[in-house]
Each structure stands twice: as C-alpha cells, then as structure tokens.
C-alpha cells in the first residue's frame, strides 16, 4: 500500500479553461491509494509548493503526483519540492494535462475525460515507483568551444577569464569567423575588425585558452562532466612551432588558389594566411593549389624558410581532449543562390551575394575597399534584393533576421564610396533592434530608393550589354517594374553550416526543419540542448545579429560554467541494471547497447551493466527475452501498470 497525494494545477486558465480541475481532483480522491487530492491555481508557485510539502508531512505521503504541465517543464521543480519535504525525488509523477490535454482541445468534456485517464495511469504507475539514488561523478573542469567566430571567441574568453581551461576548436586556419570578413557593422557602422581583432588577440595571448585551428572534431565519447573528444589536426604542412610568421614563403609562392576568405573574388597563394590580421598569423599550405603537391616540383617556400618550418611530410594527426562541458558555436553559411536561376547568380558577373559585397567594402579585401565590379568598373546603379531564399516557402521559410539591416548598411556604404543610385527591393523592413529603426530612418534621408516588393527576376539587358534588369512588383503602387542597374546584390537566406549534420550526430543534437540546432526549450532554455552538458550559441541556433550572438555566447559560457565549476555532479539515476537470477546469458544487451554499458561476465554467465556508461534509454530491457534487465524508472511493471491505468478510462 502506498500513500499518494495528487495535486492538480489550474495553471491559471491554461488548464482550467478546458479541464474541470476540481472534478479531476475529486476523481483522483477515489483512486486506489490516493489519500489526498487537491487542486490549486498555480502549483508551481510558492504557496502551491508549500501545500505539497505540507501535505507530504501531514498525510505521511510516500508518492506525489502533480497534474500540471509537461514534465519537460517542471519535473525538476517538483522533484526538488518533494525532496525538500523528505521524499525521494523519483517518487514524483507528473501528469501532463496542459501541453497534451488542455492546450490541444477546446472541449471541456473531452479535456476532463482524457485528464482522468492520464491521471489514472499515473496512479497505477506511481504505486510501483521505487526511490532511486543519483550517481555522483567527478567533473572535468575544462570546457571545449567548437567554432571560433565571434560567438566562440566570446564564450572562450569569458570562461578563460574565470580561470577555466578552454579548448577553442576552429576548422579554418584562422579564428574570427564571418565577423572578420565584414568591413562595418550595423547600425553603428563601427569597424568590424577594430572591435573583433583585439578579442582575437586576447584569445591568442590567453594562458587559459588552447587554440586549435585547422582542426575538426571527429569523435565524441563520454557524457556530461566527462566528455572524451577526439580532434583531427589537419595537416598544415607548416610546423607552427617553428614558424616565426615572417611570411617570406607567401611572397615567393608561385601557386594560385581561390581565396575562400575573399569569397572567391580573387586568387591567393598556395601557402597563405587568409587575411593580414589572421590569428594565428602563420601560414598553411593548400595541397590543392600547391605546385609541389600537384606537380612534384617547386618547394620554393621550403627554400626561403629560414626556420625550416615547411614540412611536406606532415600528416593529419589526432588529439584527445577531455572536458566537462562543450559549447557549439559553428555559425552559418549563406544559402547557395545558384539554384535560384531567376537571379542569375553565377551567370551574370554583376550579381553578387552579401558576403562578397562585405569583402568589396573591406580595405583588406580584394579591391582594397574600392567598390569596383568584376569588370573593374565602379557601378552607377545598384539594386539590393532582400529575402533571397528566405521567407520563401519554396526554399527556407525562416526570416534570416539580419539582411534588412546589412542591406541598409550596404546602401549607406555604397553611397559613401560611390556615386551610384541605390535601390532596395524589400518585402517589409524589419528593424526590431536597438538603434535599428533609427538607422532605417537615417537611410531614408540618404537618397536611397526603397521599393516595397520582392525582386522577382534578374535578366541581362538586351539594349545595353553588361547591364542587368531587375524585375519586381512595387506593391505600393501595384506596378510591375523593370529597373536597369549595373550591379545586383542578393541577400540570401542564412542557413546552417554545410556540415551541420556531422556536428549534430557527433554531439547528439536535434535540429529544426532548417537544420539549426535545437535548444532544449525555445524560451526558458535557449542555450542548452537535449544533450546534457552541450550548449549552443550564435547563428548555429538560428539567424541573429552580433549583439544577440555575443549575448548568447556569454550565456552559454555561464551555462557551461555551472557544470564545470563543481568538482562533482549528480547524474540521473534512471539507469538499467541486471537481475542476475533472471539473466539467460543471451548477451542481447551487450550486442545492442550504443554505449557499451553491459558486459558479459563469463564466469557468472550473466550480463552486468556499468552504470557510469548507461544513459538510460532502456533498449537493453526491451531486447532482454527473460526480462532480467530492469530499466529503472521505466520498468516493465511500471510501463504495463501505466498502460493498464490509461486504458481503464
């Protein structure tokens, strides 16, 4: 016999509107082993919590059922509540009558009936619950940050400043990310490099940061507090411990590669640093454009290198790092707009994408900051097309959030650097940020022409060779227009990195429809993920501007810190165990476990489970033909009883 208390929450009207909560409480009182049942306006409020604790003592309760919102919301809250009243936290059962009842029906009869069934199932299950003890594990105090754009840099610096050791992993040969490609930042128009490069230098100098550039994560093992991560250091063919960054090699190199950094607008050497302020300021050799690697002869760089740092024999190597928490800040790519043939990107030289234009403005860019087109001429008229591939059901439904603002920034810079006429083709102007509306108003005064209508097509002018025609409907005048211009700038959708699936798989992250990493909760847990100890920051979670990215990075750093600041932490106790008396020795559990938690004891002829490795999925329990495996908190008996309870009503 157990003594169960049932606490039905109204959640204001969230639940009470479509579930008769007092009737539910009365019903609960009639169920087996229920000794007290109450309903209350907000169970999660302090008086609500105190009511539960009071009743636990008064009625000597040994099980508590809270009938309220999703367990993903308040399970932890109420676990603490009952624990503080002296009950083991695993003796709590949550019945989800908000997300899965009251919010998905408008019929109070249906809502009440379904709630009764769910509650009955919970009572059946609660009677069979057992107290569980959490495992306490040692926590590795170090943190890894994946991606060294502004988000990763900020998070790494923040953590390093608290005294924590940080491994900052970057797949490119320099840190900085997209922000380092920009010339100015909206809406203040301060110079991107001026605010970013000091941070990059701080990373380089920081004694607590281990900067792992030109590296990729290849394997992640372990669990929160104890991740064991393998990193591939891609071969640079330059020994950075010897290189003194004289860059003589880059001057002599005859190789020609395409500059990724300059968005393929220019060539670079085969041995190169991506841009003058790169960190580390040490070159790598691109095998695909190096004359020696391609033709077997050259090695000019080797000849000029006084430090003997060139090493053509260098191989990829692997580094093993152990950390307690991870921040994923892998950023974004621009959508490839070539498949959107109507805009002529890749076909007409006068069509540019946003990142290419960022490089054109940049004084360290391919044109040294002069706005000249691929044909070397300064454009006399420029159209900036918003929402290319975003806010578009055919491609990406999401708003890329920053395009309106950077398009305004482009317009301003075009005005500043050229005498061109500048046109904005937009669906609507989204300026919801500090100083953004003001920036928009400022641009309205700068003789930029705003056309409310999405650019529909870009074609080549038949009359004036080399000129482009932008077709659009001006939705204010409802007139179809054809505008001849010299240059078209596309603002493509911001999409996740091309390799987002690999990162998701490695770190066990969920992704949303677009492939952005999913947060544990969109509002109240925006930086944590379903994988304990893995946090996300920046655009890999969804499009956002620099201030929001930095804020997220700081938040993620704080989240990671809450884990690594402690020496020890408690883990979920809901692991599996083997009842040796029932084990038939089939070893199915050993075969299926993704974590290698069960092992077969050949002497005793039974399986045994290493609880430190077990993540509690319960797979082993379901493949165990003799029901010898007990998936704690989800035992066969508990699941069967819950089903029985659910099917009774």
């Amino acid at each position: 016999m157990s003594r169960i208390g049932v606490f039905v929450c109204h959640c204001g009207l969230n639940i009470a509107k479509t579930v008769r909560v007092s009737e539910l409480a009365e019903f609960a009182a009639t169920l087996p082993d229920v000794v007290v049942a109450r309903d209350y306006k907000f169970m999660c409020s302090t008086p609500g919590q105190e009511m539960i604790q009071h009743d636990i003592k008064k009625y000597n309760l040994d099980r508590v059922i809270v009938t309220a919102c999703s367990p993903l919301m308040h399970e932890n809250t109420f676990r603490k509540v009952i624990e503080n009243a002296g009950l083991n936290q695993y003796l709590l059962t949550i019945v989800n009558i908000r997300e899965q009842v009251s919010w998905v029906t408008s019929d109070i009869e249906e809502g009440t009936a379904k709630s009764k069934a769910l509650l009955n199932g919970a009572v059946y299950r609660a009677r069979l619950l057992a107290p569980l003890t959490s495992r306490v594990i040692d926590v590795n105090p170090d943190v890894m940050v994946i991606g060294a754009g502004i988000a990763g840099i900020q998070a790494a610096l923040e953590l390093a400043n608290t005294g924590k050791k940080v491994y900052l992993v970057e797949k490119n040969s320099t840190i900085g990310g997209h922000m380092a490609q920009f010339d100015k930042t909206f809406p203040t128009l301060d110079c991107s490099a001026c605010i970013l490069t000091p941070k990059m230098d701080n990373v380089l100098q920081h004694k607590n940061i281990s900067m792992l550039t030109y590296c990729e994560v290849t394997e992640v093992k372990g669990y929160v507090g104890n991740f064991d991560i393998t990193i591939k250091q891609k071969a640079r063919y330059v020994d950075h411990s010897k290189c003194n960054a004289c860059l003589a090699c880059t001057e002599k190199c005859p190789g020609k590669g395409i500059s990724e950094w300059d968005e393929s607008l220019v060539k670079r050497k085969a041995i190169y640093i991506p841009f003058p302020q790169a960190v580390p300021q040490k070159p790598i050799i691109d095998k695909n454009s190096c004359t020696y690697f391609l033709k077997g002869k050259c090695r000019l760089c080797e000849k000029v290198c006084e430090q003997k740092a060139i090493d053509f024999e260098q191989q990829d190597s692997f580094i093993n790092v152990k950390v307690g928490a991870v921040i994923v800040a892998t950023g974004y790519d621009l959508m490839d707009t070539k498949p959107l043939v109507q805009y002529g990107y890749g076909k007409y030289p006068g069509v540019y994408n946003a990142l290419e234009v960022e490089r054109l403005f940049n004084s360290a860019g391919p044109t040294a900051g002069k706005v000249t087109q691929r044909d070397g001429k300064e454009p006399q008229s420029i159209a900036i097309l918003h929402c290319i591939g975003s806010r578009d059901k055919n491609y990406h439904e999401h708003c890329s959030r920053v395009c309106c603002m950077y398009s305004l920034k482009f317009a301003h810079l075009f005005k500043e650097k050229t005498s061109a006429d500048v046109y904005q083709f937009y669906i609507d102007m989204r300026a919801a940020g500090k100083g953004y509306e003001e920036f928009y108003n400022r641009l309205l005064e700068e003789n930029v022409k705003f056309i409310r209508g999405k650019g529909a097509r870009v074609t080549q002018s038949t009359e004036e060779p080399g000129r482009l025609i932008v077709e659009a409907e001006d939705t204010i005048t409802s007139k179809f227009m054809k505008l001849p211009v010299d240059m078209v700038v596309l603002s493509p959708a911001i999409v996740p990195r091309a390799d987002y699936k690999d990162i998701a798989r490695l770190f066990n992250l969920s992704t949303d429809k677009q492939g952005f990493f999913m947060e544990r909760h969109p509002k109240i847990a925006p930086l944590s993920t379903m994988s304990e100890g893995i946090f996300i920051a920046g655009v890999c979670q969804g499009p956002k501007d620099i201030p929001d990215t930095v804020a997220q990075a700081l938040g993620a750093a704080a989240e990671a810190l809450t884990i690594v600041v402690k020496d020890k932490m408690e883990l979920e106790a809901t692991t599996a165990m083997v009842n040796p008396a029932s084990c038939c020795g089939c070893q199915n559990c050993v075969r299926v476990c993704p974590y290698g938690a069960p092992a077969f004891n050949y002497e005793k002829r039974v399986s045994e489970i290493n609880e430190a490795l077990c993540k509690g999925c319960g797979l082993c329990a379901s493949v165990c033909p003799s029901s010898a495996i007990i998936a704690r908190h989800f035992t066969n008996e508990q699941v069967l009883a819950e089903m029985e309870g659910l099917m009774e009503f």
Binding site: S582, C584, G585, C586, Q587, N588, R591, V592, F600, Y602, R605, V623, P625, S626, S627, T635, N636, E637, L640
Partner: protein
C-alpha cells in the same frame, strides 16, 4: 545396408574415436527408445555408451537443444541434420556455445518420418534442407540432385486467407494450447531460464491455459524467435495438441528474410537480425 544404417555405423565409429582420443567428453546423438519408432535423445559419455547409439528415420530430435545444458568449455560432439546444424550456427552466433568446443557430425539425410503420423518430414514442416550447413565430419553421402521445395510454399494458402479467417484459425489453434510448454522444451533456441511467461515480476500474462494468456505466450514467443527460428519443426512435433506452430514460425522467418535479407542459422558471422540494424533499413517495413 541402408543409408540410415550406414550413418548409424559411422556415428558409432566416430563417437568411439572421439571419446577414446579424449577429444570430447560427450557425444550428443540418438539412443534406443521403447520401440524402433521412438528413439530418444542420447548423450554418450563413455565408449561403452556408444553401443546404445541408433540412427533411423525417426531420429527427429534437434540435439542442439541440449548443447546449452553443458557447462561452458565442455567439449561436445553433436550429431546434426540440416536444420539442427543451423541451430548450432545460431547458438554460436548467440555465444551460447563456442565453435572450438564442438565437433559437428553432419548427417545428410532425406526421408525422415514423423513417428506420430508416419509421414515423411519435408519442407512443409521444416526448412526442407538435406545437407547440414556446418560440420566437421560428414557421416553419409551428401544429398545431390534432390531439390526440395521452398520451405515457404506451404504458407501460400494461409497468406491467401482473409484476415478474419486467419484470426479464427489461429484463435482456435491457440485456444487448444494446454500450456505444457513442450514447444519451448523442444526448441533449440528457447534456452531462457526463466522464460518470460513464467515470471511474476512482471506478470506478462495469465498462467492458466486460456485465450489471453495463450495468445500472449505464443505471440511473444514468435517475436523472441523472429530471425532466430531455424525451422526444424520440433515445436510442432512436440505439441500434444497439434498446434501448427511451424506455420507461424515459417511466416515470421520469411518476413524477416525479406525485411533484413538474412536467414537464421546460415553463417556464424551473422548477428541475430533483431539485435542488429542497418542504417539503410527502409521505413517501408513499418507499413
């Protein structure tokens, strides 16, 4: 001398040799029963025991059933017909026995008979193969030319039945079950101790021989044997109330082969299909 007599002689010779040379401590074969039609499973442990070994057309028992009864490491010689050898392979896959501890005495044979009915046992009630899949020594001439029908041909008639008729058919059959568990006892793959159905925590089903408990027992057992049943048909021959369990097992085996491209007990390198997966498995199998 008939083929069966020759096999019996060879069995005796090899058993004597293996025991004499100390290569094995036990030979699992067949011994005399109360009459010619009812030979018994037999374990010869001494050279003197070998005299009792027989082999005739009624030696149906799948001796692989007894392998799991010996402590790990016991050196065992086992006489296997085609399906029996597949059971041995399956047990090796499941690490219940080790290949190196076994001397597999293969018996190629056709024309085995059901002692209850006197009927020839063929692909209708077993896998229909004649030659063992895995063996160390072959105790008779490999059977050539005798092409057996597909073991799944017999299913056609039941697959054609409309689902209500099939339900009626199986309900009637399972309602006959007296829960003697002879099927489980005869099955080389049913080595769980305890069996799920005997447990009280959780109690999966009623123990009384009534419809719901019978249904739970048989359906779950079919699942436990899915992709593992090697179609020896012993369960059905053991059944005192003649439930055609072999039919159901065949159907599940056929489906598993189609879904997962692997038949049970054909290679010691395989993994049982239900504790395995391929990333390229199709969602179509769920339709």
């Amino acid at each position: 001398m008939t083929e069966f007599k020759k096999i019996e002689e060879n069995l005796k010779t090899e058993a004597t040799r293996l025991l004499k040379e100390g290569l094995v401590t036990v030979v699992l074969a067949y011994g005399k029963g109360f009459d010619e039609n009812h030979p018994m499973p037999y374990a010869a442990k001494t050279i003197a025991d070998v005299e009792n070994i027989v082999f005739n057309e009624y030696c149906n028992y799948n001796m692989a059933r007894y392998l799991v009864r010996y402590p790990q490491g016991t050196k065992i010689a086992i006489a296997v017909k085609a399906a029996d050898s597949r059971a041995v392979i399956q047990l090796i896959q499941e690490e219940k026995v080790k290949r190196e501890n076994l001397v597999i005495l293969g018996i190629p044979v056709q024309g085995m008979k059901n002692p209850k009915t006197g009927e020839i046992i063929d692909s209708k009630t077993t896998c229909g193969m004649y030659n063992p899949v895995l063996y160390d020594l072959l105790l008779g001439e490999e059977v050539h030319g005798a092409k057996s029908a597909s073991p799944y041909d017999v299913l056609a008639e039941y697959e054609k039945m409309d689902k209500e008729a099939r339900w009626e058919f199986w309900k009637k059959e399972f309602d006959k079950c007296i829960r003697c568990y002879a099927c489980r006892k005869a099955c080389p793959m049913c080595y769980c101790d305890p069996c799920f159905i005997d447990q009280s925590k959780p109690k999966w089903a009623d123990k009384a021989p009534q419809s719901p408990g019978n249904m739970m027992y048989h359906l779950t057992r079919f699942h436990h044997l899915a992709g593992r049943c090697i179609d020896c048909g012993e369960c059905s021959r053991a059944c005192p109330v003649d439930i055609p369990l072999y039919l159901f097992h065949k159907k599940v085996a056929k489906e598993c082969e189609e879904m997962f491209n692997q038949a049970a007990g054909m290679s010691i390198e395989d993994k049982p299909v239900l504790v395995d997966f391929r990333v390229e498995d199709s969602d179509k199998i769920l339709e």
